[in-house]
Point group: C2
Chain length 361, copies 2
Amino acid sequence: MNTKIRTTAFIMAGGKGERFWPRSRVACPKQFLDILGCGKTMLQLTVERILPLTSMEGIYIATNERYRQLVEQQLPLLPPQNILCEPVGRNTAPCIGLGAEYILKGGEDAVMMVLASDHLIRQVETYRKVMREAVEIAAEEENIVTIGISPNYPETGYGYIRRDMEAPYRSAYRVEEFVEKPNRRTAEAYLRSGEYLWNSGMFVMKASTVQKAMQDYLPEVAEGLGRIGAAIGTDREREVLREAFSAMPSVSIDYGILEKAKNIYALAGAFGWDDVGSWLAMERYKSVDDDNNILVGNVVSADTRNCIVEAKDRLIALVGLDGVVVVDTEDATLIGGKEHIEEVKKLLKLLREKEEGERYL
Amino acid sequence: MNTKIRTTAFIMAGGKGERFWPRSRVACPKQFLDILGCGKTMLQLTVERILPLTSMEGIYIATNERYRQLVEQQLPLLPPQNILCEPVGRNTAPCIGLGAEYILKGGEDAVMMVLASDHLIRQVETYRKVMREAVEIAAEEENIVTIGISPNYPETGYGYIRRDMEAPYRSAYRVEEFVEKPNRRTAEAYLRSGEYLWNSGMFVMKASTVQKAMQDYLPEVAEGLGRIGAAIGTDREREVLREAFSAMPSVSIDYGILEKAKNIYALAGAFGWDDVGSWLAMERYKSVDDDNNILVGNVVSADTRNCIVEAKDRLIALVGLDGVVVVDTEDATLIGGKEHIEEVKKLLKLLREKEEGERYL
């Protein structure tokens, strides 16, 4: 077992965070915001959580040029060369492949813990324990370790991972298949079976494993990555990166590699993972008042139940409401039914079409 | 018949307009706002509507000192001495009595058309016709003419006037009694009977009739008014007004005089009267979109029905809402269920108790 291999965290922070609009904007999306009001942004929490398994030199942030300054401000101790800016968005496979190229160009192979920058984890110590084991398994051969979440209710909003319960390896099991978001009935069956985990989008593998998998399953991406890798450190780096990356297909790591690759293991994590998918997540983090409301900021209310209000200095006054979410910002206020609040993207589409609407994105 | 008597309009414009908060504020209540977005304030519309029956010299505005400047700005042609400022609010009886004193002090009796400053009337010509007849009847003896509204549905939010259908006088009937807001069942019976009219709060009588009625039914008020009347035009006017008016009981003209006086007639008006009681009135004035929404100002919406939104420049974005009223202002946003929007006073009470809450009133 190769225990000497370097461990890195590859944190993807290029997302738009649209479901947290209007607090989250194109100019400063969710991962750069202190959504919970805990004093740290989601990116800072992510780094703080994983730091004991690596070092600031081992942390890489994938984002785009627009957010470089935000990353520098929020992570002042991060080596600037560890901020990798994608010239355009091409989904997760090219992004992670790019990370592998830069890490390998450093001279040695390394395990990459691929992480989202906008998730939360309640039991940090348990999380670190699971990640340590994932790193150990990933360090061996060409293993890919996905971190699955033990489901505790039949969630229909996540993809699932089905394990082969006959083939354990340490605490992990071989992955049989990745399945799409199920309907309620199917999700209930998954929950009962005990074979399924939620796909958290976190996984761990060596940079060399990524590179090899790209060659095996996404040769078009691998070709571009090879040209970029060759240009790193030369004065053609930026130019080649822009040209070659832009030419890649847009493909997710799940679809492009994980669903096809061998040697995929799943480790089950039960550490209070939360993808903080919408404002409804506040119900899991903030305490409710006697009327089951979460009222943050300058709010008055009467005869109001089951509401979530994220106000700031402006006054939000509620009367006779039930099940409504309000998110107030200086120039825009979102008001939505709880059941529909994840459909905020419909509003963003309308704003893109509306004259002068772009200013609110 | 005394057809030579002067005709005046006595417009009460001291209300707080709380049900239109947060657009209506203590510093600038409903009657001074262009609530409908028609380019004129409700006070201006009221004056414009009645002007053909009198003249600017015949229009008196009762308000309080705080709003003198607003009245002057909105009615630049009004003689400044026709703005009567109550030192404190003492309900309608002392207010109208004060008007009568000032009018009589001018040297001659006059018919007073007592009007609210924040109601709307759709059929203005019909309204003027009814008011002309009311003036003629009121000019005779000590007649008091209330303008009742022919009900077209069983409204439970208004008081009613019961007429003696056996005793017509010109187009008017003698008033049998004033009744409080009925419940639904009773309102339906009133509607069926044909004897009942809505009490619009408009009535017409001579200033001398007011003075006499005060003496007969509200001697305590009459005494104070007498002292004020004697001081008008002297250098003790302000001082006596403040002292005597403040000492009066708070009593409505309905309760204090109309329910007791003789010679009360009701004229039925069917001229599209509307007391514009809350934001729900917008449904009667603004056209709805395909989803039965009224969206004014900078609004985007998706999957939203039966909503009323009064926005300005800030963006109000709605998703998945049904039956919600939103009123946006620079420093405060009201969001309420349609059924409960008239309970906005509960919020104002909370604001009065809240630290720094007064600033929003």
